[in-house]
């Protein structure tokens, strides 16, 4: 038989002003199951808590109801309090007679009657309370960072510096990501390689970091602290142990392929390193283009390799490892300019993307930093930059602002004028969004010191005329149409989530938004967490970001990981769903409604027939306790600890015809 104690709080005059606390406490004593009831000025104060503890011992109470403020405020306080007195902390309920009663009602009779009702409900619920336990969960103190761009590199370095092992998985043959392609960075004009490559080398030489390039995460199972991850290490066709990175193989390879790293402006071989500073500096064979892999005679690279590192037969390797936390830093891609017909659909050779312009300017790019037209390799005299190509443009599927284009377009115009002072730079823009440290000043410099011509308005179309590109647009400030005969046009195409962002999100337990950016747990207060505990976001996989924001978020994610790893163990959520497997018909509805993928069907031996059959099983590490499966279960064989159907119905029943 439950022995309930009721403790009614005055909260000074906050409750007592509108609720007749003494009378309510007296009447509560006659609620079935209540063996003790009292009131006190401040129940949460130390004497108040001592009063509760003493009453538990004196009256042999096995559960309590505190009628005071919102449980969102003081539930943990009273849970700790009764735990001190030897009770299971979850054998308590609160009746919210302040926020939901005394503060919103003025009539003392009504408020007192309601307070008593709320106590009746809490007593009815507490009588059905059962002890709940938090199980210790061990933590594998090893982090997985997915994506080897600047976000992944920063997160990996921060976690590794804190003393925990990190595996950095990168899909392409080298880490470095987009930033490695850039020439200089706004607003300081630091050379991107000069600030990034040392970090890449740090990653490679860090004793706590394992780099897996040319590899992808295939499968993630488990939960916070205990993820099991399958990583596919794609066949490189080069033995990483034997290769010295001498580069003879790719200097002799007869096959030439447009270079992805140079955005198609330069060439690479079929065996290649994407760029000279690649980490690891080990070539990879592109089997799609390799002669030998296409049944043609070759094998040159194997012949010239001084260490015999070439292995044409190498196969993909699946690595399965345990991780405690995952950082997603999978980055972005840029919108394909071929999709914009009015700007030539990618068919005009001298209309290029901003990323291509970066490669043209880059000293280690295909032209060694000489800005020339792709069509005839002559230096351009008039260059038109178009901002917001696809961004802030519902017609082209991006409602959002890509955030960085205003800045890099200013940078491009400025660097063009610096390299070629006689060239004219025109920038078509909608608004200049330069909201970062030193950003506005930078744009002003491009316009005022370097004389970039900023035209507020959009470009309606462009087409080839002779060896020029005619750019037709509007100057909305002057209110007249503009036509420029350009030698080169640079499009600031929209930033987009990776092609497979949604699938990758699904693998990693991250939901994606309407534009397929990966979703954070809360837009303001949980910017690096996602809804799956133990998984964090860094960089432009969440939304378009510049380098400072990316690095800041990566460090934020890393500090979340190290914070998690600093604990000796995790405690499981006590209020979670559980299945009565004997009753489960394995319809699987719970599996499909669970927002966290915490339910799966497992094979059990039927307790009655002894035959093998399927039944739902809750993964306690993944369950967040929302109860969606409980309400969805057709056979009522799932229930939620702490909010069981019996408890909720008891609360409703407590007030039958009583108001």
């Amino acid at each position: 038989m439950a022995r309930v104690g009721v403790f009614v709080c005055w909260c000074g005059s906050n409750i007592a002003k509108t609720v007749d606390v003494e009378r309510v406490a007296k009447e509560a004593a006659s609620i079935p199951g209540v063996v003790f009831s009292t009131d006190y000025k401040y129940m949460c104060s130390e004497p108040g808590q001592n009063l509760v503890k003493d009453a538990i011992l004196e009256h042999k109470l096995d559960r309590i109801v505190v009628a005071s403020c919102s449980p969102r405020l003081h539930e943990p306080t009273f849970q700790r309090c009764i735990a001190d007195a030897g009770l299971n902390p979850f054998m308590s309920e609160m009746a919210n007679i302040r926020e939901h009663c005394s503060w919103v009602h003025h009539d003392k009779e009504e408020a007192s009657a309601k307070a008593l009702d709320l106590i009746k409900m809490a007593v009815a619920k507490v009588r059905k309370d059962e002890p709940l336990f938090q199980n210790p969960i061990p933590i594998t103190k090893r982090a997985l960072v997915v994506g080897g761009g600047v976000a992944g590199i920063q997160a990996a370095l921060d976690i590794a510096d804190a003393g925990y092992p990190v595996t950095l998985v990168e899909r392409t043959p080298s880490i470095g990501g987009r930033m490695a392609q850039y020439d200089k960075t706004f607003p300081t004009l630091d050379c991107a390689a000069c600030i990034l490559t040392p970090k890449m080398v740090d990653c490679a030489s860090h004793p706590n970091i394992t780099i897996l390039t040319h590899a992808e995460v295939e499968e993630v199972s488990g939960f916070v602290g205990n993820f099991t991850v399958k990583i596919r290490k794609r066949a490189r066709s080069v033995d990483m142990e034997k290769c010295t990175g001498c580069g003879i193989c790719y200097s002799k390879c007869p096959v030439k392929v447009p270079s992805e790293f140079d955005e198609g402006l330069g060439e690479r071989r079929a065996i290649y390193v994407p760029f000279p500073q690649a980490v690891p500096n080990v070539p990879v064979i592109d089997r799609e283009h390799c002669r030998l892999h296409n049944d043609l005679k070759c094998g040159v690279c194997a012949k010239v390799c001084p260490t015999g590192a070439i292995d044409y037969e190498q196969e993909d390797e699946i690595i399965e490892e345990q991780f405690g936390a995952i950082v997603a830093a999978t980055g972005f891609k840029t919108w394909d300019r071929a999709k914009i017909g009015e700007y030539g659909a990618g068919k005009i050779p001298d209309v290029i993307s901003a990323l291509q312009f970066e490669r043209l300017m880059n000293a280690s790019g295909p032209t060694e930093g000489k800005i020339v037209r792709p069509s005839d390799h002559t230096p351009p005299k008039t260059v038109v930059f178009v901002a917001c190509v696809g961004s802030r443009d519902q017609n082209h599927g991006h409602k959002y602002c890509s955030k960085v284009c205003c800045m890099y377009t200013a940078k491009h115009a400025l660097l063009l004028k610096e390299k070629m002072p006689d060239a004219e730079a025109y920038v078509f823009y909608m608004d200049i969004r330069a909201n970062g440290k030193g950003y506005e000043e930078f744009v002003r410099r491009a316009i005022e010191e370097y004389g970039a011509n900023y035209i507020r308005g959009r470009v309606s179309r462009m087409y080839q005329l002779g060896d020029k590109v005619v750019v037709k647009g509007a100057d909305t400030l002057a209110g007249k149409p503009v036509e420029i005969r350009a030698d080169l046009v640079v499009l600031a195409t929209a930033m987009e989530p990776q092609e497979d962002a949604r699938d990758m999100g699904r693998v990693l337990g991250i939901s994606t938004d309407q534009d397929e950016w990966m979703s954070e747990a809360h837009p303001k207060l949980k910017p690096v967490e996602v809804l799956t505990a133990g998984v964090y976001l860094a960089g432009a996989c969440q939304y378009a970001k510049d380098i400072p924001d990316t690095v800041a978020q990566a460090s934020g994610a890393a500090s979340k990981v190290t914070g998690l790893f600093s604990k000796t163990e995790l405690l499981s959520e006590p209020m979670i769903a559980h299945v009565s497997q004997g009753d489960c018909a394995a319809c699987g509805l719970c599996v499909s409604v669970c927002p966290f993928g915490a339910i799966e069907l497992e094979t059990i031996t039927d307790p009655v027939t002894k035959a093998e059959r399927l039944a739902a099983k809750i993964n306690e590490g993944l369950c967040h306790g929302c109860g969606t499966c409980v309400a969805g279960c057709r056979g009522s064989c799932i229930d939620l600890r702490g909010f069981s159907s019996t408890q909720v119905l008891a609360e409703i029943d407590a007030l039958a015809f009583s108001i």
């Binding site: 919103v104 969606t628 007030l655 015809f657």
Partner: protein
């Protein structure tokens, strides 16, 4: 203050007041109701609140039990679409309760007695208003008289028995 009716020869009795069962999700609507308190907003004392983790936890049977136990109205409140603490529990709630609403009507429970709404943790005012509105509406509708049960078995049962 409810009106007081003077009945001849008897003591003063209070006018009938509707009883509302509120089932609120912990993260948005319960917090919104807390905020109504912190902001000292005022609303009728006709609602009794049951806290659940998520509107997705609301079993349609909770609503039915409320009506069975004599509540004159049931008010379910959860996070706005897209704001669910558990990502999508409120979407499941929306589907289930939309279906339930149709059944309530078929069972003879007027749909005005049942309300499903979104109230965020920052919408104390919206919570207070919704209780006021529902109380007012139920005052107009009068006491819930229950569902008239028929002794006769349903037609398909009769057919099956033949």
């Amino acid at each position: 203050m409810p009106e007081e009716n003077q009945i001849a020869g008897q003591e003063t009795v209070k006018a009938w007041e509707p009883r509302i069962l509120g089932i609120l999700c912990n993260w948005c609507s319960y917090a919104g109701a807390d905020l109504a308190g912190s902001a000292r907003l005022s609303y009728p004392a006709n609602v009794r609140i049951v806290r659940v983790p998520c509107s997705g936890r609301v079993d349609p049977s909770f609503v039915l039990r409320g009506f069975m136990r004599g509540f004159d109205g049931v008010l379910i409140s959860g996070c706005h679409p897209g704001d669910c603490h558990y990502a999508k529990g409120n979407y499941y709630a929306r589907r289930r309760l939309t279906v339930l609403k149709k059944y309530l009507v078929k069972m003879g429970i007027p749909e005005e007695r049942f309300q499903f709404q979104w109230v965020s943790a920052s919408e104390g005012g919206r919570w207070a208003e919704s209780v006021s509105e529902m109380t007012e509406r139920l005052r107009g509708l009068g006491p819930f008289q229950g569902v008239a049960l028929q002794d006769k078995p349903a037609p398909h049962r009769e057919a099956a028995a033949v």
